[in-house]
Subunit: 450 residues, 2 copies
Amino acid sequence: MAESLPSEHKAVRLHPNGERRIRVETIPAPRIEHPDDAIVKVKLAGLCGSDLHAYRGHEVIDQVITTGHEFVGEVVALGASFAPEATAKNRPPLYATLKVGDKVVSPFTSSCAECNFCRLGFTSRCANSLLFGSVLLEGGQAQYVRVPRAGGTLFPIPPHTSIPHAPTAEQLTSLADPSLLLLADILPTGVFAAIQTLQHPKVLPVITGRPFPLGSMSVLPAGEIIAQRIQSGGVGVELLEEDKILNLAIVGLGPVGICALISLLDLLALNKTSYNITAIDLLAARRAKASAIYRSLPDSARGSGHFAVCGTDEAEATVAAQTKGTNGEGIPGCHAVLEIVGNNSALTLAHTLLRPFGALISVGVHQTPPVPFIGRALYAKNTALEFGRCPVRAVFPLAAELLLRRQDVFGKVGGDEALVDRVVGIDDAEEAFTRFEKGEWGKVIFDPWK
Amino acid sequence: MAESLPSEHKAVRLHPNGERRIRVETIPAPRIEHPDDAIVKVKLAGLCGSDLHAYRGHEVIDQVITTGHEFVGEVVALGASFAPEATAKNRPPLYATLKVGDKVVSPFTSSCAECNFCRLGFTSRCANSLLFGSVLLEGGQAQYVRVPRAGGTLFPIPPHTSIPHAPTAEQLTSLADPSLLLLADILPTGVFAAIQTLQHPKVLPVITGRPFPLGSMSVLPAGEIIAQRIQSGGVGVELLEEDKILNLAIVGLGPVGICALISLLDLLALNKTSYNITAIDLLAARRAKASAIYRSLPDSARGSGHFAVCGTDEAEATVAAQTKGTNGEGIPGCHAVLEIVGNNSALTLAHTLLRPFGALISVGVHQTPPVPFIGRALYAKNTALEFGRCPVRAVFPLAAELLLRRQDVFGKVGGDEALVDRVVGIDDAEEAFTRFEKGEWGKVIFDPWK
């Protein structure tokens, strides 16, 4: 089924050592290696904060890799599993419907849609998952990329399976490629942080007005019986209106942090939950962008609450001022803190900003150091922690729907209120890594054909 | 309102240093110190695993303390807040109704029922909370004990406020004191571990059959709108029956571990959730008791599943055998592991036994060492962690209801299938601490008048 593919292509390569670790090189183009593979001709590929882990040496690589895990493109070759006679075997529907010429976005990890983890929605830990741009799978900052388990992994634009009620399917075709690219990683990861926050049992009482442990008991099959047994939660007092204001902080205002902020605000507005949000970053440019984007949002997209932006040094004082009186006399702190950096300074700050029975929601990519928590402190604060990689496949519908509705932010390229800073040619990759790493450039997208 | 109180009483005292750190001494009896105080004449006081933290020196005390945080007794004196003219001020109803002569159980921490944390059900982190048997508040292993914020803290037996539908209120009066004592700490703490497990967003998909991120979204005010946006969770495949079997492990089979096991089994049976449970302890005597109690349960109390008991050395192999094939080829591990020990060996083992997107539910009391996790491992497993102290007040109705229904276990004193090993006189406290610490005696209860 493969159309004629070139023998070579351009790719951004990260070398394990040497002076110029990032180089744009011409190397053999990818080929179908397995019947489930697709080859995608890349239209745009993103540069992501987590690309910097290997670039900075925090994550050690032992061989040269093709970088990048965000891409949008066009299917140019398909393996034998996509032949009509193979599709009868009760496999994911995309094996029957994906065609050469289809436009696709890929999650930043492959997933099979055929294992226990995928069925449960935990697609980022699919039993057959691989990360693009790693030593195990070449990345998307290239002219072509091989996608394993493509019938489980790829999102066609528009989606082939209809999503009833959701206005996403056809409308997605109207979006520009830089906007669609956000679906590969950063927007779903931000949404993942937001939904883990709002549905956490330690956060739900504030939103629902029903005290712990009622939380999410009602979704259990025997929820009604259990709720009868719990009744008012044992304390027998009603929540006051002031108890229903959610105190949140976001540590890290890179592109994922801003996606998390927008998703949080959207869900809080939808649930009519009042909030105090403190948004924190070391870099002034990132703080300015977060402020500008917050101010640019219509009321319907940001609901009702207070929003403050500050540096890490001012974070404790700002949270204390924002949350003063809401937790009780002299108790500052947030019901949840979203950690979107991926190092121990961020984890330490996030835990400091939590109030007792708070939830630390980490979507940062962490490395080898031990986490900076002592057991007694976690016990004493009744801390909850969530770690890990976004299951993009599972979060895709929510993220796509938000992408469409918030084109006032996600549709822009360049300028103070845009998440995407610039689109550059692939030959500028070396400069782009350098400037992105220093914070001089925001979110950069590569056009491999420019 | 105080009846005549003795000037002295007997109490179990832990000294910071010396040969015989535990001594039964005659000391001044407690007095009303604040208008919200009650003085309780102790009928029975429990010896709990967490008493051992200070006894073993893992928790350093700088002064002699009266030990014990579990007690059942009778109100013998009340502060001025309990006078009729004081009760009009919109305070917790118990200030209006509690009387000298009432029988009461106390949670192991005091709580006010008047702060933001109490209203949200987070009573163990009440802004005014104190732990019985600490340097800040004398404990219950004594003839008398002072209870601060008594109108928020105490549970009268029967409860003064009716609990509609629940069969608890009057029936609780029929229970023997050793059974009621379980409500002070260990049974609610076990129930707390169980409900944190079952309502965790990473566990809910297995129980409800709805993939992540649907989890508990439906309890949000805008749950229906969000559910429409998410639809099938993005993967678009149905769960198989085998995906709905919950793999669990319990690390630590002391009295709290057994309470957690019984509560888990009860909730799993109620929800008709099939399970594989691996119950783990270093000590053969504890393993034997867990097995005997499991076998003694009627089918209605343990639902449908497989149960294995093993030592810590065999834990990995046993979990692998129990969960073989349920997570996918070659992926052992549990959806959740309950950690009920309170040290780093237990945390390390618990994390090892988790599968990706698993939840580590810790109710152990942890001390000063850093927790034994590296960031990359938590990220790579998408681990969730819950730490901290049970909010007994909030969990009380569920625990009381279970206590009544499971009198076949919780009503027994002594023997293979009993949670409570023995009731001894307070003068035997020194021997009791020694034997309990060595695991020679199980759960011990002191009678301060024997």
